[in-house]
Amino acid sequence: MNPAVQGLLTIVVGVGGCIGYFYLSNLVLDKVLFPPHGPNAGRNINRANAIRPWVFLAPALFGLGLYLAYPVIETIRLSITDQAAGGAFVGLDNYAQMSGDPKFWEALRNNVLWLLVVPAASTFFGLLAAQLTDRIRWGNFAKSLIFMPMAISFVGAAVIFKLVYDARPLDQEQIGILNAVYLALGGNEPQTWLTIPFWNNFFLMAVLVWIQTGFAMVILSAALRGIPEETVEAAIVDGANPFQVFFRIKVPQITGTIVVVWTTITIVVLKVFDIVFAMTNGQWETQVLANYMYDKLFRANDWGVGSAAAMIIMLMVTPILVWNVYNARKEMR
């Protein structure tokens, strides 16, 4: 079957089935199971109302359970069993095997580097852009342009930055803008930026910072606008200069938002895969956990170690998960 027809059919079946399910289950609930008339009318209405939320929730809960909750459990199970031995329980063997792999430590080190640099840099640039663009007339246009990379895929961004980092031999015209600038500023020879161990990590991080800054800017700009004007005016009347106003008056009032931005970007960083996969594929010491895991799962076909690596990512996300849930519950009350 032609995939386009199949797609159309899926939309019709999916949407139709969904509407049909909700409509019919409601009908059954109200008309057949617990009709709101007859001797038990009152009790029936109550019963129907107790069941209805679950009718509404059922498909979503099924999806969440099957596609997100079950895999967590299953991954834990896979990480402590050995597939080659028919799924026998091997305890922490996979973890031990992984910790003997220098590539794993390289990936972990790089991931920590990413975690330190990318959220900090994105938040910093986002805050800078938000504060600066709020003060000029063409601010909204500028914001749009800085926000734009958000719509570009990681793979697209990888191509964009490969061109930026491109290097040609010294006797040829440089076509990568970074090398052109580098040579114009007095560099002696063009650099292949992505193959310089350790520092190349930062050239990869730049791609994610480029994408995430717009996100940080949008959120922080809204927060900055929410600051009560009196506090700023009072500070100015007291003789504060613009830098003092910004760092002493504004930033402390948006700390909460800064933390939210920081953690959101942290989660993105932990899952970063496409950029490394497309630009270096972990060569030249740029491996990260997500790509390491993909390598183990689909190239080495080692599901045990791959799952163990996935669990490490999960472990690193957990503090944020707990913090988010804690905040959400506080808010519910």
Binding site: L57, I177, V245, A290, V325, A328, M332
Partner: protein
């Protein structure tokens, strides 16, 4: 508001310049790729993309047409060859299409800018050469001089920015091009549309239940959704691939649609619930008092009022599924390569065509163009969704 104390304009310039700098820093990488996608292989190899924005001055060595075939005699022993240097050099099919303008020229490699266009060079013993700015030349002399090989001419010509759609024609409309993007484009579209529409309905009903229906366990479910929001989808790859293989879906569109639906649900439920909670209580309670059932309230009141949140989520999900590489690689793309999506195709090209920037840039731009269009037309909803999704 920072300027009430009259400190205006001292900083304004500094701010404006900083913003210009920041914007350039953020936009130039993309512009570079866009410009490159309109240049020929030759141009990309010989100069940086920024050179394409200005007229380029290049030195060329051209040659007059073969005199033995083209010369005309005036009957008095003088022969003349006339024509166009660029045509003779095979650069353009005819003189009408010459876009370069010759600034100076010469007939010796030691003095390549000896003459201006329109001047006549004396090559000795009565042999002369005239070259006009568009490359038209007239070369005359006696029978011995006007024979053998055509006269060499060194020209310094200025060519206007020259952009071409050829790359796009090649990447999109060349039938049978295995590296083309047409198939991948439609595959991506096939993945994206159902994967965007289906989770919305699932999530909308669930969000309504979590926002406006009272039942035991509601708070725990909301907390659960918040928790699942950050679960890395890397964890889901192996277990679900196994599951899909066991129940017979295998790798294919159905699998990738289901996966995207599952992965998109937490954000959808979270966004929609946050929005629905904020709807005015009176409307919903009045409807209840008037005897509307929950189903009616949802379909007739809550769903239409939630349009902005639905739009926000739809944009997020569209961007995410369109730009996705990992989920497609794991759940969709099999060894036949028939179902490859654009992101995958680009990664493939990065491997096999690493240096061919005209192909890479064009392919990447084909894939980027749709999200960018969506971004610029629907930015309002995107911003609103971001604000609802992360500020607590």
């Amino acid at each position: 508001m920072d300027n009430i104390a009259g400190t205006k304009s001292r900083l304004t310039w500094a701010v404006n310049i900083s913003v210009v700098f920041l914007v350039l820093l953020w936009v130039l990488p993309t512009v570079g790729l866009l410009v490159s996608s309109f240049r020929t292989t030759e141009q990309i190899r010989s100069s940086g993309w920024w050179a394409a924005l200005f007229p380029a001055e290049i030195n060329q060595t051209l040659r007059a047409a073969d005199p033995d075939d083209n010369r005309t005699a005036d009957g008095a022993g003088r022969y003349t060859v006339e024509g166009n240097l660029f045509v003779a050099g095979g650069h353009v099919p005819d003189a009408e299409q010459v876009s370069a303008t010759i600034r100076s020229w010469g007939t010796s490699s030691r003095a390549i800018d000896a003459y201006r266009p329109g001047e006549t060079a004396d090559l000795g013993d009565g042999e002369t050469m005239t070259v006009r700015s568009n490359g038209d030349y007239s070369w005359s002399g006696n029978g011995d001089q006007i024979s053998g090989r055509g006269q060499r001419v060194f020209v310094t010509a200025e060519t206007p920015p020259d952009l071409t759609f050829d790359n796009y024609r090649k990447v999109l409309f060349e039938p049978g091009n295995r590296e083309g993007m047409t198939k991948a484009f439609f595959n991506t579209l096939t993945v994206t549309i159902p994967a965007t529409i289906i989770p919305i309905l699932f999530a909308a009903f669930a969000a309504y239940a979590l926002a406006w229906m009272d039942f035991p366990g509601r708070a725990i479910l909301v907390a659960g959704v918040v928790a699942l929001l950050v679960v890395p989808l890397q964890l889901a790859l192996i277990p679900l691939l196994k599951l899909h293989n066991e129940i017979g879906i295998g790798k294919g569109y159905l699998g990738v649609w289901l996966a995207h639906t599952g992965f998109g649900l937490p954000l959808a439920i979270y966004l929609l619930r946050n929005y629905m909670v904020g709807l005015p209580r009176e409307i919903i309670e009045n409807a209840r008092v008037d005897g509307a059932s929950d189903f009616q309230i949802f379909v007739r009141i809550v769903l239409p009022l939630s349009f902005p949140a639905l739009a926000s989520f739809a944009i997020f999900q569209f961007l995410w599924t369109w730009n996705d590489l990992l989920v497609a690689m794991v759940f969709l793309i099999d060894s036949s390569g028939q179902t490859t999506v654009m992101t995958r195709q680009i990664v493939e090209l990065l491997g096999t065509r690493g240096g061919d920037w005209e192909i890479l840039a064009t392919s990447a731009f084909v894939s980027i163009a749709v999200p960018l269009m969506l971004f610029f037309t629907m930015q309002r909803y995107l911003v609103r969704g971001l604000l609802a999704g992360s500020v607590k």
